[in-house]
Amino acid sequence: MFKKVVSNADEAIKDIHDGAVIMLGGFGLCGIPENCITALVKKGVKNLTCISNNAGVDEFGIGLMLKTRQVKKMISSYVGENAEFERQLLSGELEVELIPQGTLATRCMATGYGMPAIFTPAGVGTEVANGKEERDFAGKKYLMEYAFNSDFAIVKAWKGDTHGNLIFKATARNLNPLMAMAGKITIAEVEELYEPGELDPDQIHTPGIYVNKIFQGVDYEKRIEQITTRLKN
């Protein structure tokens, strides 16, 4: 009997310890594991290394964990839109490693595929290449980038079942399925939790084998960074 279902975010993250390396899914505030972030702030774990495309905004997402100084290091591709982040970075309180977004995504994929490294042209000739092995394939230069080694991955899905199968919605998919495959322990929070057999196997994005803990989240706020609309005539 598979026992992946936990009652809530507090239960799901209870093993996350000080100094852990955690991946957090999402692009901007879209598709972020809101419930688990709130639980991590409540638990107060410290010295975390967070691998996430962005660092939230001042009052939401990973920004909440930055405010409480729980993050020692961020590994991200883009960290604008967060004044507290910039302050901590410039004052030296926070360490940050900026990496190209495709490299971030593909390093997650490599981990989930059981491959130690990838080669990518992104960053050749830039400061991203410092200290990295460079290889020539068919006359073009590539950097060797290692797969990630993370203790936990925390992802947010639209639908899931008790076996851990996940379905994501629209652009809230982003890095979530890649990180789901890349955590030593993967925690998934879902908007709707179903029994096995209720989701169509053809529609599953993340097979349940990658997911260790799953729970139905509550009170999703889904903040929008930039609401842009057009007028009806």
């Binding site: 692009f27 901007g28 505030l29 879209c30 598709g31 495309n53 991200s76 591709s77 883009y78 960290v79 604008g80 839109e81 910039e86 970075l89 410039l90 940050v96 900026l98 190209p100 977004q101 495709g102 490299t103 971030l104 995504a105 593909t106 997650c108 994929m109 990518t120 042209p121 992104a122 960053g123 050749v124 000739g125 830039t126 400061e127 991203v128 639209w158 994501f168 919605k169 629209a170 652009t171 809230a172 998919r173 982003n174 890095l175 979530n176 399925p177 890649l178 994005h205 889904k222 903040r223 929008i224 960074e225 930039q226 609401i227 842009t228 609309t229 057009r230 007028l231 009806k232």
Partner: protein, 217 residues
């Protein structure tokens, strides 16, 4: 002299029927508003969408549906969603026909700098380094000079590099430039702008061959 809408309009003339196009944040995003009549292009968004539609009406805003600039968008008919590795896979493997990016500096050999101002701006490269390392055809939309009036079309970039020798074409408020072996080749002048004025505002080597037409937009 062009405003940012003019720059976007001029770049839109480079679109061809059947193109898959990635538009960066800022002026490049505006290009979507000027797709010429009778041609169909499909816009790619690095966060996992092929087929970006217009902004939503107020009652159809979906927080789970955004573009790379984190703006709410819609989808077009025939669109698809995918994860970020697939998104950069299509970029890296050369499926995207045209990439339009903003830049802080471009050098006469096609180097681009657009991700970092040391000690000042620490936002990061996002997908820019992946795009410039792999895109077949990169057009840069940028201001010709900075706020201090200094040229941003340089002999060499002074800011940290995003990618080497990758820019093919630049559209600024002053004109259209192709990157060729000798430097920036002036292709068109913006309305009312003289070749001499462009020369004065361009630090990198400017190549002027024959009579340079004024652009029609």
């Amino acid at each position: 002299m062009l405003d940012k809408f003019g720059i976007a309009k001029r770049i839109a003339k480079e679109l061809k029927d059947g193109y898959y196009v990635n538009l960066g944040i800022g002026i490049p995003t505006l290009v979507a508003n000027y797709v010429p009549e009778g041609i169909e292009v499909i816009l790619q968004s690095e966060n996992g969408l092929l087929g970006i539609g217009p902004f939503p009406y107020a009652d159809e805003v979906d927080p789970d549906l955004i573009n790379a600039g984190k703006q709410t968008v819609t989808t077009t008919k025939g669109s698809s969603f995918f994860d970020s590795a697939t998104s950069f896979g299509m970029i890296r493997s050369g499926r995207v026909d045209l990439t339009v990016l903003g830049a802080m500096e471009v050098a006469e050999n096609g180097d681009i700098a657009n991700w970092k101002i040391p000690g000042k701006m620490v936002k990061g490269m996002g997908g820019a380094m992946d795009l410039v390392a792999s895109a077949k055809n990169i057009i840069v939309a940028m201001q010709h000079v900075n706020k201090a009036g200094e040229s941003k079309l340089l002999k060499r970039c002074s800011l940290p590099i995003t990618g080497l020798g990758c820019v093919k074409k630049i559209v600024t408020e002053l004109g259209v430039f192709d990157i060729v072996a000798e430097g920036f080749q002036l292709i068109e002048r913006a309305p009312g702008i003289s070749v001499d004025y462009i020369k004065e505002k361009t630090e990198g080597n400017l190549l002027v061959i024959g009579e340079i037409p004024e652009m029609v937009i």
